[in-house]
Symmetry: C2
Subunit: 157 residues, 2 copies
Amino acid sequence: MPDHPEPDHEPDNLQLVHLLRAVAVDFGLRQAEFATRNGMHPTDVRALICLLDAARAAEPATAGLLGARLGLNSAGTTAVIDRLERLGHVARIRDEHDRRRILLRVEPAAIRLGREFFGPLIDGVLRVLDSFDPAERDAVRRFLTAAHTVFASDPQP
Amino acid sequence: MPDHPEPDHEPDNLQLVHLLRAVAVDFGLRQAEFATRNGMHPTDVRALICLLDAARAAEPATAGLLGARLGLNSAGTTAVIDRLERLGHVARIRDEHDRRRILLRVEPAAIRLGREFFGPLIDGVLRVLDSFDPAERDAVRRFLTAAHTVFASDPQP
DNA sequence: GGCGATAATCTCGCTTAACGAGATATTACC
DNA sequence: GGTAATATCTCGTTAAGCGAGATTATCGCC
């Protein structure tokens, strides 16, 4: 529900915000397409992305963390993991240091599946970025960082 | 599922793609937050956004078009409209030119609700954009346009 | 070193979003 | 004017996610 906020800005800039939103919507649709194409649900795909992000950041990917990131309660989290495990995309591993916890490992087959689908899309964007000079790339980075900061800030009261 | 695609690009650019994805995810979370805060479901919010986009583009917002954009079948589409109508956010209007069709009008109260929630967020992004010079704005526009083109292109076989 | 409090995950039952199939009403084609 | 095509809705079913509570493991305290 994007329409014009408070007044008094360049109208061109508002158009950029609309573009950003359109990209976000596109991304969601692609995620959903990848999901149905592989017998999954959008939430399952979000879960895989979340687990890969955690792996990249070297965070321990526990069931609880996953549920928190996805906004699911514990029952829903268990269900997501069950589905992913049944498809062979994720393995449950008891944490030997704290045996209450379940660590989640994304299987290589799932990573390959994601790369097949998203690789060409990412490559398309990268090809455009390669044609940018450093100042332009920096402008993009500052814009995205600002958007990330604004949209990720803690919920309003 | 974002990880490294084919090789041979600036690693900094890949980081920009990750940032873009993060923003898309943030946006989805905010959408979900707005939904639950107003007794709706994420799909309902996506429907409202879709209807407002159609209004801005001066397209006729029919039930069928809405369902197609959301990827729902006709039963699901009817259900979404029922929920929005029950909350008073949308009105069903018979198209007098083709009396099979239902036109959908977003009520002003719903628009106000969206502006209250998303206005400050949009404003935050606009404030940053106002500090950009025209060349930087153009870089952002080209980047977003490219991403939109890549992500919105027709489904792969 | 054992005991209650806390934490992490799972089980059960329920609500309901979305699906498939088919009904209904309106328009377009020949 | 009758039949095909289109737009929406109804009905019954599946399963995603929730709330409540059970289960198992760890930690702090005396």
